[in-house]
């Protein structure tokens, strides 16, 4: 079936199967930043924004996003680079495979939380797994980026 979506400010008509998950459709249409890390909604690698809200694209059926506004990291290049620079300064990107989903969650958090505590930040980001960094370097980067002491 066909769905109509706006991905990164561009209207696209997508051909999708009734049982296809959004992560697979996005990758099929060339949005390769969106990664799949598990099949159980645990890892957060596939996080994109649907109407500005961070959402697991592996747990969202593609047909459910008909007429919706989607954002992947490709669509917010400059903002992503701003934060990524803080991660890279800490060396906290390491293999980078979890970065696209992580960056999308961090940028959503920046919009959503005003003056968060360290605890708020950890809570918000806890659905994004990383096996390389041990999280503390990422936390240093996020705190500097968010201006949290």
């Amino acid at each position: 079936m066909k769905i109509q979506v706006i991905v990164n400010h561009k209207k696209i008509q997508m051909e999708v199967a009734y049982d296809e998950f959004l992560v697979d459709v996005l990758r099929r249409y060339g949005f390769n930043s969106v990664k799949r890390g598990c099949d159980t909604g645990n890892c957060g690698l596939c996080t994109i924004w649907i109407e500005g809200k961070p959402t697991l694209s592996c747990s969202t059926l593609a047909v459910r996003v008909n007429n919706k506004n989607l954002t992947t990291i490709e669509g917010i290049g400059e903002e992503a680079k701003d934060f990524a620079a803080f991660m890279v300064a800490e060396g906290a990107e390491q293999c980078g495979f979890c970065s696209p989903g992580f960056v999308m969650t961090v940028l959503a958090m920046k919009r959503e939380l005003k003056n968060p505590t360290e605890e708020d930040i950890i809570h918000y980001l806890t659905g994004n797994l990383c096996r390389c960094t041990g999280y503390v370097g990422q936390l240093r980067a996020v705190k500097t980026y968010m201006g949290v002491a």
Partner: protein, 760 residues
């Protein structure tokens, strides 16, 4: 030093952090066939018949392969230098299936849906056999996991396959029985470590196609491109020269990609069909159908005098390699080789035991490679010895550990070691004096500290080899060509730092392409903590070689003898005649065109060391234990590291933090459970819990640098050593809190609570 010991940002950092399409599955040809594997539902069975007739006829199915379609020559998927110590005990597909998840048939179709549909149409009839599920009952079991007669070993590893023994080990120095007999204080305990999963975020994957020269090209997320080429060549019985392996960006490896778990499947499909093919493992396959850490049982017996001088250490091990013997003998012997040298006060030491086959997922290489298992046992026993002697465990270490310049019977003399200083600094950072052994926080909560030490190696002595080429391009920039594989740890950056230091220039003058076996110089690969030390040493030689060639060329261009020239990176000047100068880009132009002066300026360097200098760590854990529930909160973890010169402090720190958290996962969360039928119950992230952000509080990393004379700029490794201390240090802290020894990993609240109840 201008560039060494600087926290330079990772060269590929911004690209990977912002989601550029650089990984294997981002590069696949859209028309590639999709491969799915039909897997065994039985732990041990012989295939009586497979009917693929219906499945083959399904529209969109390209080919279905069974054990009748593959070469009958056994191979190993272990990525090791030839001749591999791992047995050749696999076929691409076998008539025997040896664990739940073992491969039965390869299905290649136009898309995933069709492949899965076809898979369900294959009818297999099995003769179900009695599986060997408990590794402690493997030796002499009525079932033989490998009954076939064409299993091969390259040299004697002590295999007795009719008894399910894959390999045996014996490392011995001195008379252990005699020294133990004379020791008035003895500790003897048995420890169990679990089959930890790598859980790298990018699962195992590869795609294949035929190139324009009729050669099979494999693009793979691998740590071992050159080994993959040799492994696939043997498995498929085609010449190595007909295969090319390309490594793009990798989403983490941790040893899981030091085993060629997936490459043979798309490779055989492409060879048979001539068409591109891809295989992407889902998380379940990654956790259930690749490799894991070897689960082990290790009994440690330590003898000491009343003053705490260790006299003898005896370690008896049993290792579970599962259905196949990837890395079986080497991981096992490393559990002794790279733990026993820590206590060179002992007059006699021994490590012995067996590796056994069982009907479970095969084990393989995982960060730590046996040391993690050995250290949990040895350090837990050392802590218990200190307790028995009423001695501060840090004092026991101070009395017995190896120090710089000292010798041990297992691995010789240590040229660099600051372990004693690591312990002292760690004590300060954790607040040992105030916190040891415990503080009562409330009626139900106790806080306590624990500690452990470890070592590892830097590459494999006399086996690992790295070649590096640095090429001056016609634009005056350098290409740094390496065969070591960047997988997120930053080796491309660290090696460029070394080259830039020697060539007295800046990081932006270098490009480091990915690995391609057709064009990259040979390197055994990124494993065994080898890139900084082994490939680093080769990089220095290559840079020095090129530097000399640049000087010679400048001498020719300026008509001035070599010794009067001053190499200044971007330019070469004449001493005392600053106006006489030639720039790097001028040299590049000069050799690129005209007057018969053309020359490709390249420096090459090769390194294969005769030793593997160990890095060291002292690790300290502070925990809070709830006596009512057994719950453990890790308050702080301190690691003080001697990795020699720190080439890049921030990248080293991140490596350490990440490895510590992986070790914390092994210590506290990551449980592997099989049911009675041999099915792995922990094959998703729902059941197999790796640490998440909320599990980690404070991590404190510091360095006490020694200077390793054989290392590049004095450096040793850091990649693996970081994972080893958390299991024993956390177990020690839990004991200090509530008096419960947990000797079987992971240290769960259930085990702690059961221990507490025993007292009541």
């Amino acid at each position: 030093m201008k560039i060494i010991n600087q926290s330079i940002r990772k060269l590929d950092g911004m690209d990977v952090a912002t989601g550029k399409p650089l990984y294997t599955d981002d590069l696949v040809n859209a028309n590639a066939l999709v491969i799915k594997i039909l897997r065994s539902p039985h732990a041990f069975a012989k295939i009586k018949s497979i009917n693929i007739e219906k499945a083959e006829k399904l529209e969109g199915v390209e080919c279905i392969l069974t054990h009748k379609d593959v070469p009958n020559e056994r191979f190993t998927m272990a990525g090791q230098s030839y001749p591999e110590p791992s047995p050749y005990d696999r076929l691409i597909l076998d008539e025997y299936v040896r664990y739940v998840g073992d491969e039965v048939a390869i299905i290649a179709a136009i898309d995933e849906k069709t492949a899965i549909k076809a898979m369900k149409m294959i009818a297999v009839s099995y003769e179900v056999l009695e599986p060997v599920l408990n590794f402690e009952e493997a030796i002499g079991h009525t079932s033989i996991v490998h009954p076939e007669d064409n299993l091969q070993v390259n040299f004697d590893i002590g295999m007795k396959k009719e008894k399910n023994i894959t390999a045996t080990a014996l490392i011995e120095s001195g008379n252990v029985e005699k020294e133990l007999g004379k020791s008035p204080v003895i500790v003897e305990e048995t420890y169990y470590t679990q089959a930890q999963a790598h859980a790298m975020m990018e699962t195992q994957r590869a795609f294949t196609y035929m190139d324009s020269n009729g050669r099979l090209t494999i693009v793979s997320s691998t740590q071992i491109p050159f080994h993959v080429r040799r492994i696939v060549a043997r498995a498929l019985q085609v010449p190595k020269s007909k295969i090319r392996v390309v490594k793009p960006k990798i989403g983490g490896g941790f040893g899981g990609k030091q085993t060629a778990s997936v490459e043979v499947f798309p490779a055989i499909v492409t060879l048979k069909t001539g068409k591109p093919a891809k295989i992407i493992y889902d998380r379940k396959e990654s956790l259930n159908c690749t490799t894991s850490r070897h689960a082990m049982r290790i009994t440690v017996k330590i003898g000491a005098d009343h003053e705490g001088n260790i006299q003898a250490i005896d370690m008896k091990g049993l290792s579970d390699t599962g259905a196949y013997g990837e890395h079986a003998s080497t991981v096992f012997s490393v559990a002794g080789y790279k733990t026993l040298p820590l206590y060179n006060s002992a007059k006699a030491v021994r490590f012995s035991g067996n590796v056994v086959y069982t009907n479970k997922m095969p084990a393989g290489a995982l960060r730590g490679y046996g040391v993690t298992q050995g250290i949990f046992a040895l350090e837990s026993a050392a802590n218990q010895l200190a307790d028995k002697l009423n001695m501060d465990p840090t004092e026991l270490r101070a009395k017995n550990i190896i120090k710089e310049g000292e010798t041990n019977p297992i691995s010789g003399t240590l040229d660099s070691c600051t372990l004693d200083r690591c312990i002292e600094k760690g004590k300060q950072l954790i607040g040992w004096q105030e916190k040891y052994p415990r503080k009562i926080i409330s009626d139900t909560k106790v806080r306590s500290v624990g500690m452990a030490i470890t070592m590892q190696g830097s590459g494999i002595a006399a086996i690992d080899v790295a070649n590096v080429t640095i090429k001056l391009n016609d634009d005056g920039l350098y290409s740094l060509l390496i065969g070591a594989t960047e997988m997120g740890m930053g080796c491309d950056t660290v090696l460029t730092q070394m080259a830039a230091e020697i060539l007295e220039t800046t990081m932006d003058k270098f490009v480091v392409p990915g690995v391609d076996t057709d064009s990259s110089p040979y390197d055994t690969g990124s494993y065994a903590s080898s890139t900084t030390y082994v490939t680093g040493n080769a990089t220095i030689k290559a840079a020095e070689d090129l530097k000399l060639k640049l000087l010679k060329k400048a001498s020719e261009m300026l008509g001035i003898s070599l010794e009067k020239l001053d190499f200044q990176g971007d330019t070469i000047k004449v001493l005392n005649h600053e106006e006489k100068v030639v720039s790097l880009s001028q040299i590049a132009e000069y050799v690129s065109a005209g007057e018969g002066k053309q020359e490709q300026l390249m420096g090459t360097g090769t390194f294969g060391g005769d030793k593997s200098p160990p890095p060291f760590i002292a690790g300290f854990a502070e925990v809070e234990v709830d006596k009512e529930t057994g719950k453990i909160d890790l308050i702080d973890y301190v690691a003080v590291i001697d990795c020699g010169t720190v080439i890049n402090p921030k990248l080293a720190r991140i490596q350490a933090e990440g490895g510590l958290v992986q070790g914390i996962g092994m210590a506290m969360y990551e449980d592997v459970i099989y049911n009675q039928r041999g099915q792995m119950m922990t094959n998703t992230f729902m059941q197999y819990k790796i640490p998440c952000r909320k599990d980690i509080n404070k991590i404190t990393v510091d360095f006490e640098s020694s200077y390793e004379p054989s290392g590049p700029f004095g450096a040793k490794s850091i990649g693996e050593v970081v994972i080893n201390t958390p299991p024993p240090a956390i177990a020690h802290a839990v004991y200090n809190a509530v008096g419960v020894h947990v000797r079987s990993l992971p240290i769960t609240p259930e085990k702690v609570l059961k221990g507490i109840w025993k007292f009541q």
